[in-house]
Symmetry: C2
Subunit: 158 residues, 2 copies
DNA sequence: ACATATATTTCAGATTATGAACTATTCAAG
DNA sequence: CTTGAATAGTTCATAATCTGAAATATATGT
């Protein structure tokens, strides 16, 4: 019985091919990050890139699909290194806004530019292909962020 | 001077959009993996999926963009759990071939099927879009595997 | 005011990944 | 055939990372 099943699954479905590509790209990019910014951890790079504008930590946690305590640790490191400051959100004084300093802005600009190059050289796609890929990637991301945390069922109260 | 620069970089380039999508998808998929296979680590899942045929550990290391010692640990765990066996490669008796057991095959089939569904629900893409995305993802992966380890400069002897 | 919900922090513990040193085998050369 | 260098994988101790539960501070509703 396992014959046809394994034969069918053996040829990789588009979904698996897509996943393998995504994993390879993710791993490659993570590896490449090591070689450019020795004083920033990966998570710190990710946070910097996300901070195109001041954001609340909870928003970042949802955005980066991680838990608050991780955001705290990452923000601590970036704050200590002078890349950002915490400011109380005037709309809700329980929350902090993470705001990049000038130094943080510069680091972010550098990172964004470098990350773009990393993508180009890692992917090997031309600009047309990149545009197509980016459009779909964006659609995927929108879907995930919209779908949100449900799969993880964090703090599921039902 | 930082005005135009940050303005230019502020609107995200296709490359960054692509990367953010890739990261979101990767994180989401990793998170989802937790909820289906409690007795397998992520790395173990990845290895199972890669083992569509017997492979040498070194090949897997290159394929999974990781170091040999990680492959050893992962293979140990899978072997102990009965999912695979080590067999000497007749062509080079220094090397092992990792061969899935029947149980391993079953686990792999389940994983591949489940992973496909995870991709579908996480991405929200229809099948046409998935096909396009998969084609590009595959192209990217080919490029990365072909490019290989150079970026990391592991064991650079020059 | 009071009870409850939310935003973030603290911290200790678990998991995971990694590199350097080691064993076994192969390969090339003399 | 034996020696030396290269390669495949292993071991192990260490470091980096992540998380979840309990705690603090503020907000919201009654």
């Amino acid at each position: 019985m396992s014959d046809d099943v394994s034969a069918r699954l053996g040829r990789l479905s588009p979904e698996i091919q897509a996943m393998m590509g995504v994993y390879a790209l993710y791993w490659k990019l993570e590896e490449s990050f090591d070689s450019i910014e020795t004083d920033l951890s990966h998570q710190e790079c990710h946070m910097l890139i996300k901070l195109d504008a001041p954001k609340r930590m909870g928003v970042l946690a949802a955005d980066m699909l991680t838990v608050p305590s991780t955001i705290t640790a990452t923000a601590d490191a970036l704050e200590q290194a002078g890349y950002l400051t915490r400011q109380r959100d005037p709309e809700d004084r329980r929350a902090w806004l993470l705001v990049l300093t000038e130094q943080g802005e510069e680091a972010r600009n550098m990172l964004v530019a470098t990350a773009g190059e990393l993508f180009r050289s890692a992917s090997g796609l031309n600009s047309d292909e990149t545009a197509v890929f980016a459009r779909l990637a964006r659609k995927i991301r929108d879907n995930i962020v919209k779908t949100g945390i449900p799969e993880g069922l964090k703090k599921c109260d039902s």
